[in-house]
Amino acid sequence: MILQGTLAIWQRDMLILRRSIISELVAVVAYPLTIYLAFGIGMQSYIGLVDGAPYSLFIAPGLITMTAVSAAYNESVWSLWFHRRVQFTIESYRVTPISVSEIVIAKILTGFTHGIIKGCAVGLVIFAITPFRFPLEHLFYYLLFLIPGSALFSCAGIISGTVMDKPETIGKVEAVLVMPLIFMSGLFFPLSSYPPSVISWVRALPTTALFEGARRILVAGEMQPISALQVSVSAALAFIAAVAIFRKKMAE
């Protein structure tokens, strides 16, 4: 496959991102930072240590990861819907020599890039306002979660943006499916808080592997290869599904 189309569309998306980078970052940092200040610092003295770590440190990896995957999902879903249903740019791409797969891969890459940039931005801000410092080695291993995690949510966004024609449906899916998946994956509490009968189900979720694995490596320095593999395999499957669903939709 020649990826000239993927590169051209991704470069276009990056040009748009560059033009609005300040406002994008301010908007994307505000939400997790508010949560961090309210829960991590405001409630720290009431909660104390969680799994042996201060609460503000406990939730930091999850907030960084949440920012990244939410940004990846939101960029993919809204960008694809807007270009398909409002601006009809997808149609204009399709009458050029590039393939449908090149278009969808470009959009997945864009969502992924948004996720990584915005996740890193939130990470830098949290590091700037807290005394916690993570070893470089841990940060490197953390990328083994952040990269496939962003890719997974970018693909999920592509699937939503492809199959949903109404913007209100996109909002509902985010409220009913995406955010619960993120929040119930132990973002603000340890998985041990779940009843024993539920834990195995929660652990089977790729989001749990992502958030739990990210926290383990960043806070405790424990690499969980099975969790990393689970996120990567989920991302690969989501990628295959996203490309297939988009191709099917375009063929209709």
Binding site: G5, R12, L15, R19, Q87, E91, S92, V95, P97, I98
Partner: protein
Amino acid sequence: MPTSSIVTSALTKSYGSLTALDSFDLEVDQGSIFGLLGPNGAGKTTLIRILTTLMRQSSGTASIEGLDTLRSGREIRCMIGVVSQENSLDRYLTARENLELHARLHGMNKKLYKGRIDDLLELMGLSGRQKDFPDTFSGGMQRRLVIARALVHQPKVLFLDEPTTGLDPQSRRAVWEYVRSLAGSMTIFLTTHYLEEAEQLCDRIAIMDHGRMIAIGSTQELKDRLSGATVYEIEFTGDGADRYATLLGSMSCVNNIAQIGNKVAVTLECWECLSEIVTALDGAPVRRISLQERTLEDVFISLTGEKVRE
């Protein structure tokens, strides 16, 4: 003998029980401007989507410049330019960036497309606005930009799907000028609801309805095909129109008669009947007798009916 640029044979497209295209046969000569007319839902957009490889037919074949649309989609898309009904400009890119993106999607290198884009912006009168975003453009300017975008890679076949819908008369005429200026350098396939547009621009016109071709030919051929009948409008002075309308209506060579005020429109079997009419009107207070030219709209309505389509 001109070579065919676009050929369809028994082209059929069905959506469940609905047949949008029904055994559609068509040949469009290279370098010509071909117009496709039809009421809403006639199948025009389906046909254009198949020809531009956006959609696969249910059966039959379609080819562009000898390449099959099912087997050679990428090659065909290299040589076609498409101006779709929707204004598909990227509102987050400037006019120039819109053209540059299109050039990159066609795999053109910067050296090649830079000069080409300069020329097109100049040709379309958009050079001074190339750094502005399309949202700040008038409808006519946006349309010209879409046409420029479709021409960046120098296509052999240009598809224009209702290119002037929603434009004011001045902008519409400007687009016509650009299209005319392209005549001969590429094949142009145009769909439109504006019959005047088809009449002004097209070498040949096809009229389709319910997925089928119902007429094809030059504007004059289509008008001639309407019927041998000729319509004259006779304007009377004073109040004698009623009496003479009754008299004319009783004549065997008059097929139809319609009266509005002191004007009477008579449909004759053939123009030779006019002398009988003139004789019958001897001494009548006639102010003017004028031949009513058949318009393409008359042809269109006679072939597709007057009923409004959903």
